[in-house]
């Protein structure tokens, strides 16, 4: 069986790759892709911990089940990722329409 550590290291690596994209890319869409990679790394972590620590075996009626916490969290990460992509890309489109640029550094009118 592949140990938990292996999954966590893959997730960490993916997270750092995404982080590099966010820090180093200039195109706002590329930065958004980096964020998606980071969210996916988080999801790997959540599901891996769920699998190794608290998978539920049987439904116990209406009692409190902490068993599905990992998967449920992953689902909410999906929701947030989708909302983030939709609004983020719409923002980029809006900026592009007004400023004709998608380079994140050039959008600095709020800077002092």
């Amino acid at each position: 069986m592949v140990p938990l550590t292996a999954y966590l290291i893959v997730a960490a690596l993916l997270f750092c790759i995404g982080m590099y994209a966010v820090l180093a890319r200039r195109n706002a869409i590329a930065i958004l892709m980096g964020v998606e990679l980071m969210l996916n790394a988080v999801n790997i972590n959540l599901v891996a911990f769920w699998r190794f620590l608290t998978p539920s075996t049987t439904a116990t009626g209406s009692g409190l089940q902490v068993g599905m916490a990992g998967q449920t969290f992953a689902i909410f990460v999906f929701v947030v990722a989708a909302a983030e992509a939709a609004v983020g890309l719409a923002l980029i489109l809006s900026v592009f329409r007004n400023r004709r640029t998608v380079i994140a550094e050039n959008v600095d009118s709020l800077k002092l």
């Binding site: 439904a59 999906f78 929701v79 989708a82 939709a86």
Partner: protein
């Protein structure tokens, strides 16, 4: 965990691309097809005249809006399918929750409709 099923799926993911590769690659390997390319033949197809500008023409924002509404409804299935699978064991409350969920999304759809985000222009 359905290990055997998933191993089968993994094999299938390897086989499925090979099948279409074969008929594409075979005639090229066996030299069944002629290979007489010339400049005119390789030109981008546009009714005989040379193409003006590159292929990446500006697109309408309409495409983005369709993809957007689709994405929101696609996310819905994340909740819909576990709910549907467990439905027979759930209390009546689950039905109320899902109706609320669908109603909220339905309001979003109605908004998109009224704003004309669903019109093809």
């Amino acid at each position: 965990m359905q290990q055997q099923e998933w191993i089968f799926i993994a094999i299938f993911f390897v086989i499925a691309p090979i099948l279409p590769i074969m008929p594409i690659a075979l005639p090229q390997l066996l030299r069944l097809a002629p290979r007489r390319a010339n400049k005119a033949k390789l030109e981008t197809y546009e009714c005989g005249v040379e193409t003006v500008g590159d292929a990446w023409v500006q697109f309408k924002v309409q495409y983005y809006l369709y993809a957007l509404v689709f994405l929101i409804f696609d996310i819905e299935l994340l909740f819909l399918f576990p709910w549907a699978v467990a439905y027979n064991q759930l209390p009546l409350f689950a039905f109320v929750v899902m109706v609320t969920f669908i109603a909220v999304l339905g309001v979003g759809l109605a908004y998109a409709w009224r704003k004309g985000a669903l019109e093809w222009q």
